[in-house]
Symmetry: C2
Subunit: 411 residues, 2 copies
């Protein structure tokens, strides 16, 4: 019943043809694009050219002749509209972890009398781990990390907070913070903000400029489909550029890298946030993956994302098993990212049973099953069928089979 | 004359067949493998499998099923014998710049009463830039960078030096330091060493363990042929592991990354030097490129490397133009890396004229032309012909053509 309703909705989905731009595995419902986006068909050709011609034939001359040296900037500018940034503020480079370090150090330098980096206790760990690494390096007189619950962030903002570091969409719950409101609150006490949009960029419009955000980071391999471990990106608001240097001052962030001057002189603007030489092959894969965003409005993507997650919640509610699950993701669409997180005591085993049945979800300890909906390629039928398969697994208690149970750690 | 002598030497070169494993551009003598190694044929197939099958079909499951999660370690272990490291000490990750930061911070933490990072003034700039970035972040009470000439390093070693940071082979001159001797001198005053082997690894045996080195970094895209901007590697001697954490403490360096615990707990051993998620595609390219080192002894590579550079110097000396050049590279083979650096007032224009004639060299300001010899694929004929072409360019003063002159910077 839900499946035919879903097929009807797919027929009228104006974004449905975009699915043809991706390689989707057979007999699989892939709901893990929030962990690793699927392969865009354009990537294979782009890599063939990059490797066989640019590297293989043109070799060192490609740094200039094929624009390799400008890739962090040019790929950054392709990401800029996706995160609501005017030109000159986004750079594609390194990993989120490394980029968070650069930006937190920048934030502390811009707020030299403040010591606190405020984080959400249940946010994706790497951001907090990096903040802890910086705090340990600088010592408690210069930097401390304060972690509070998501709903206590507002009241934890005070005049000692240098930077509020926060994911727009929480990787576990799928809760979406109000980026503009929290940025206003941070600014009201003189704090800066660093927003991690790993779970928003590519699934909804991100409004860095409009929300008056100070710093941002995001990920190339989730909703941007840039491939496993794709380069990350960072954003530095124009008004905060050129005031301080950043500590990971590698040669590509130098004003004139090829002059090989003995002392570091930071480049102007966001370019100083480059560190070492980036992987050209990895950059090219992401660049090819980003082309699809030229074809689609982010508002339409967000509309479809919310329609998919709402429809999936409806389909779930139709299953008799539904009452045995908790739902972590807010029912209010405005507070939702692009995945649905449900909880169950047997969450691990249920996730394994879903995967065995061809529904690729993921499990997050201690009891969370995540269903990620990528509006570029997921369908309403994906939503209906995965809910039905979950219902069947629960009705038949298939998840109790020993093969789906978590193995004890052998130490 | 030299060309026929060269062809004779190529015929008796036992490493000559290795050249077939690489894509070499037509009508070109490529002498820039010390900047960007050529494309190994095996890389194209490996990337096709990685992208089309591992990413395209198997998707998120590949982190476990195809060993993606272990790549920093497994590729690191493939590099380990190339740098003379027993297992458990080498990791493939990030860039040299980022890795230098991790290791210098480690060194300062291990020598808490010392503040000096000692560098060679004319070393490759990124290492020094990163040391300066760390010093600026920590402040002068905790860290200062001292730069001295290469022949003053010994006497600059004193009880305030925490880390001596140095390239084994200088990127400009091709001078090779005595790694074991300088490490002994550093240890004699209680300092640690961090050796950058970007210009040695893959062209000669590197002896990290034997020389009692403390830390090391190196590059995947020069003599290891891992592709433009390939991931770098780092080395931490076993005896220095597990004592301190490193500040770029991203989630992959966590003891249990997938437990998503709120606070950072470093992994055991060298694994804690991982930061964020690495590019799998870039790692796979390097991994494929490294296979060739299973087929060859490093001693034989070094022998050929020195034979090539010695022969090239002989061929150069036969050219009447030779007296107009300075030679930066030491004539003593033991003090030589795998490139020859010569100087000329018109160095920039001469380098451009060589490139236009199909001899790919590079220029380093203010007046240096580098001829890099990669013993895996360069031939004695490459050496003879490039010297002859240089001779012809100089005899005909072809480099004076306006197209080869450096354009004034337009600002």
């Amino acid at each position: 019943m839900n499946v035919s309703k879903a097929q009807e909705r797919d027929r009228y989905d104006s974004l449905a043809p975009l699915r043809d731009h991706f390689c989707l595995p057979d007999n699989t419902i892939y709901l893990d694009g929030n962990s690793l986006g699927v392969l865009p068909k354009a990537v294979l050709d782009r890599l063939q050219i990059t490797v066989a011609t640019e590297w293989g034939t043109d070799l060192i001359s490609s740094w200039n002749n094929h624009g390799w040296i400008g890739l962090p900037q040019s790929v950054g500018e392709k990401i800029a509209p996706i995160v609501g940034a005017a030109p000159g503020q986004v750079l594609c480079c390194d990993s989120i972890s490394i980029n968070v370090f650069k930006l937190l150090a920048t934030g502390l330098a811009l707020r030299p009398k403040r010591t606190t980096i405020l984080v959400e206790a249940q946010d994706f760990p790497t951001d907090r781990y990096i903040a802890e690494g910086l705090a340990q390096l600088l010592g408690p007189d210069r930097c401390v990390v304060k972690a509070v619950a998501g709903d206590e962030l507002e009241q934890a903002l005070n005049s000692d907070v240098a930077v509020l570091l926060l994911s727009e969409v929480n990787y576990r719950t799928g809760y979406r913070h109000d980026m503009a409101a929290l940025t206003r609150s941070a600014h009201a006490v003189g704090a800066l903000t660093c927003w991690d949009v790993a779970h928003s960029a590519g699934a909804m419009p991100v409004a860095f400029d409009q929300a008056d955000v100070d710093f941002g980071v995001g990920c190339g391999y989730k909703f941007l489909n840039g491939g496993p471990g794709a380069p990350a990106f960072l954003y530095v608001a124009k008004r905060l550029q050129n005031q301080v240097s950043q500590p990971l001052s590698g040669w590509l962030g130098h004003r004139q890298p090829f002059d090989f001057t003995p002392s570091y002189q930071p480049a102007d603007g966001v370019l100083r946030y480059q560190a070492g030489t980036p992987s050209v092959i990895a950059m090219r894969a992401l660049e090819a993956a980003l082309d699809i965003f030229d074809k689609v409005s982010l508002a339409a993507l967000r509309e479809k994302s919310l329609a998919l997650t709402s429809f999936f919640l409806e389909c779930l509610a139709d299953q008799t098993c539904f009452e045995s699950f908790g739902v972590l993701t807010p029912s209010d669409p405005a507070c939702r990212g692009s995945h649905i997180a449900i909880t169950h005591e047997q969450g691990f085993a249920i996730a394994q049973a879903l995967i065995a049945a061809g529904v690729i979800v993921d499990f997050r300890a201690p009891n969370i099953i995540r269903f990620g909906f990528a509006p570029l390629y997921n369908t309403f039928e994906d939503a209906a069928r995965s809910a039905a398969i979950l219902g069947a697994i629960m009705a038949e208690t298939r998840y109790l089979e020993p093969c789906f149970q978590r193995r004890q750690k052998v130490t």
